[in-house]
Symmetry: C2
Subunit: 382 residues, 2 copies
């Protein structure tokens, strides 16, 4: 299948590109290196350098034989996105091309505006490009479990049948997020759903939880093929960051009570979820929503698991509860359904001590490059 990956330079975009070519798909990646630019602007270093896309694709091709075509440009620009769609005529579009960090979106007005404008402008352009160039193509958009927030009732997969005053209606599950970034994802979903039902497009919205991990079947720990890996508090997801903090001798910073519970998944499962979604497209006029995670943990659970794994390697890992810079419930009900991807055949890679130890052993190679002042960035919600 011809698959276009938007945001192909990112933590998930690049591993997805390799994975889909390994499964025989023809892949084109697009990126404008926005994440790299924002990291430079915010003085954020990575744990290890990651080559730019032309170099990575060349390495991947030399190792695997699979070619990935690269377009560098801004998908907010219609002329650019139109050119990419017109030349490639994708059958599926995997849309990662968003500013993906909650703390970044809460930094200041400029960051909020960039997040809002970038995320919605790219999404609307993708919708119009599909309509114009490949109306039968399947849009696989990354959403986030954060759209749902933490309601006091069970979270279903995308839709909720409501009984009210003796009548019934099936609504998009009502969503309330706890950052501007997550709020833009709610908007994305509403935007996509409007055009899907108006124009009969096909779409899958993947409500993903925080992802962790470095290794995939394709990168095999080849350093130049590893994903873009942040360990700072702005762009680093919590478990990845805790692993680096443990190795770097920086206490695991648990916000507030640490009872914040979310659904997590291994990066390998993200790739499998994307592939399963692409291989089983939504119907025309259908917005199909999957909750994409494999198990739930509180932040306290994660910190404890990282400490235990660290102990296996002789690391002395401290856990420190710090004042919560976010505005969020620190103890709450959390019971999200996540059966649709399992029904499609997902075989989860659960979080084990072995998984954490394997990550730590790799991160230890870079122990001396871990900078403490990169980690805690003091982004406050209020």
């Amino acid at each position: 299948m011809r698959i276009l990956i938007l945001g192909g330079d990112g933590y998930l975009g690049w591993p997805t590109a390799m994975h889909l070519t390994a499964y025989g798909h023809e892949v084109v990646v697009v990126d404008n290196y926005l994440r790299r630019r924002l990291c430079r602007e915010e003085n954020i270093d990575l744990l290890f350098d990651v080559p730019e896309l032309p170099e990575r694709t060349a390495i991947w091709q030399s190792l695997s034989g699979h070619k990935i075509q690269v377009y560098i440009g801004d998908l907010v620009e219609w002329d650019f996105i139109a050119e990419v769609f017109e030349k490639f005529i994708p059958e599926a579009i995997v849309h990662y091309a968003e500013q993906p960090a909650a703390p970044y979106s809460m930094l200041n007005r400029q960051a909020a505006t960039l997040t809002l404008n970038n995320n919605l402008s790219v999404t609307v352009n993708v919708i119009f490009a599909v309509r114009e160039f490949c109306p039968d193509a399947h849009i696989v958009k990354l959403g986030t479990m954060g759209e749902y927030g933490t309601p006091n009732v069970d979270i279903e997969e995308g839709w909720l049948e409501v009984k009210h005053k003796g009548r019934r209606h099936k609504f998009l599950y009502p969503r309330q997020a706890s950052s501007l970034y997550h709020t833009t994802k709610i908007m994305d979903t509403d935007l996509l759903w409007f055009y899907v039902r108006t124009w009969g497009l096909r779409a899958t919205d993947l409500m993903q939880g925080p992802v962790y991990g470095l290794f995939t079947d394709e990168n095999e720990k080849h350093e130049q093929l590893l994903p873009f890996f942040n360990y700072d508090e702005i762009f680093g997801t919590v478990l990845n960051r805790f692993v680096v903090q443990a190795v770097g001798g920086y206490p695991l910073t648990v916000y507030g009570k640490g009872g914040q519970t979310r659904g997590y998944l291994n990066i390998k499962d993200t790739l499998n979820c994307i592939r399963l979604s692409v291989d089983n497209p939504a119907d025309k006029g259908e917005l199909r929503i999957f909750n994409q995670f494999t198990e739930t943990f509180s932040v306290n659970d994660l910190a404890e698991k990282v400490r235990e794994a660290g102990n296996q390697l002789g690391l002395k890992v401290e856990i420190q509860h710090v004042a919560n810079p976010r505005i969020e419930a620190e103890e709450h009900y959390y019971h999200p359904r996540h059966t649709a991807l399992l029904d499609l055949g997902l075989a989860p890679h659960y979080l084990s001590e072995g998984v954490l130890v394997e990550m730590m052993e790799y991160v230890i190679k870079y122990k001396d490059q871990i900078k403490h002042d990169q980690i805690y960035r003091k982004v406050k919600w209020a």
Copy 2:
């Protein structure tokens, strides 16, 4: 009270400005004449010319003694909005500054993008300006009943208590709109609600139905103080347009079966609703949602009423069912609650034959200027 009216040149913005000064408030209006520009670009004529804001405010001042200060500029530009807020330090902000037409938003990609970018960028700038310059001020944002769509259950005022699998949660009422414009209003509400609860702002979101009418207590049919009045299918609201069509001898164009039911209100009631909202501000950290309409009608009801009123004036009014250019339910359940504004003291001006006859008598003055090719504009949803 110091009240800033954003979008002060529009159909509702200008009447609101006069009304609030007549009630003793200090008013500043802001507009970038976007609606005028879009009308020019789409070759849309008004029934009668409306002076620009400096001239209108001068006329109003000479007649009433009330001064209204004018800023012309684009609220998407932070430097401009910051200057306005910093100089005036409003106590309330009435936010009408959006591209308000569903058909315009469905014209083409450029119009969709303009609607999305303008509406959300202005709203986010208003939020940041309030936070920076007047965090205690009350944001009164115009929403739309169209955010709710036409669910098969009763529509409550903004919030819905859901019972699900034995547990309960109060959600923002789940919304699903039937145009891109209305979808941007859903997004606006989500955006405002996020920052209201994160930063403790005060906000009222007025879910307004389609407004009709020309006359307010302040304009007293003084032509140069009348509102910006569209009778085309793009910017004209349905009842206003039907009145002009009846006078102009153009059949009343009912889309499809005509069972589309909405909540309507007289322009006088819009002004009263705004004043009541401003005079009774929301609490800090509260997003208060009112459903702003006074009675519900189907399109068939409206067409019948206009025909009957036309008959009173000896007009022969035809009703013509045309293929529906929109994608919407033409027959549906519709039972929206609207008690909060009545509880605050709203005394509705209901739609009567007298109201329609009074409008028609005025429109007849311009009968020769009604251009048939201005009315039906063939904007198709699909």
